[in-house]
């Protein structure tokens, strides 16, 4: 497959419109573009920031593996995944995934698949900072995220 895959791991914010425009540019064979933006929630006002640690090199490599698998499995025309690291405050972007395809379900499934595997396989870890100044625990991995990933191994 030579569908373009763009992966970036960066401290700075990203621009949804710029990324979608780059992926759509100068082609008119795309029928569906699905984007997923993962944002930092304030946890009912208790959270002041998330601090994201990552494994440089492997983070990019792992997300690329996931995106290429999604391209192949769902016949995507293009895929983009951008994941931030460092300190991120409520309302800010954490992650962006974009999937393009001729038809809508493949674009939905592609973006959903990339997010499920990114959650469980991309080497990132979140630590909570509270508004009261305390630094909380590392966020625990959720069984629900493993279950979400595992549903893709039941071939349709």
């Amino acid at each position: 497959m030579n569908a373009p895959v763009i992966v970036r791991v960066q401290r700075e914010d990203f621009d949804l419109d710029a990324e979608v425009s780059a992926l759509r540019r100068e082609r008119s064979d795309i029928g569906a573009v699905v984007t997923f933006s993962g944002l930092c929630r304030d946890e009912a006002g208790a959270l002041s920031a998330l601090e994201l640690e990552h494994y440089p090199g492997m983070a990019e490599a792992e997300i690329e593996r996931i995106c290429h698998e999604a391209v192949e499995r769902f016949g995507l025309q293009a895929a983009t995944a951008i994941h931030r690291f460092g300190k991120i405050t409520p309302g800010e972007n954490i992650v962006l995934v974009i999937a393009a395809s001729p038809h809508r379900q493949a674009a939905f499934d592609g973006a959903n698949f990339i997010m499920d595997f990114l959650k469980t396989s991309a080497p990132f870890w979140k630590k909570e900072h509270h508004v009261d100044g305390s630094i909380g625990e590392w966020v625990s991995a959720k069984d629900a995220d493993d279950a979400a990933r595992d549903r893709w191994t039941r071939k349709p």
Binding site: M58, A61, H83, M115, K119, P123, F124, W125
Partner: protein, 86 residues
């Protein structure tokens, strides 16, 4: 004896007190599980980091592996908790 670069993340890193170290490994350290058992002999900070060793994830040369994976030829071995990105 082989030399390998070990990298740690998240609370594994915090408990050990460093993010990276070069280590000479004895010949009887064959798998990732052997490596974790070996590290646990190196002090209480390692014991704390690998207390619940079943939850520890490993990567060799930046690819996920399980605990039974042989480490022969590894340049870099990473040990870390389950991931929570996205």
């Amino acid at each position: 004896m082989s030399t390998v670069n070990l990298v740690y993340f998240s609370w594994v890193r915090e408990r050990i007190g460093k993010g990276e170290e070069m280590l000479d490994l004895p010949a009887d350290v064959v798998t990732v599980a052997d490596l974790i058992a070996h590290l646990k002999t190196r002090g209480e900070e390692y014991e704390a980091a690998f207390e619940h060793q079943n939850v520890i994830r490993a990567a060799i040369n930046q690819e996920h592996v399980d605990h039974a994976e042989p480490i022969a030829g590894a340049r870099e071995i990473a040990l870390f908790p389950p991931m929570t990105g996205g």
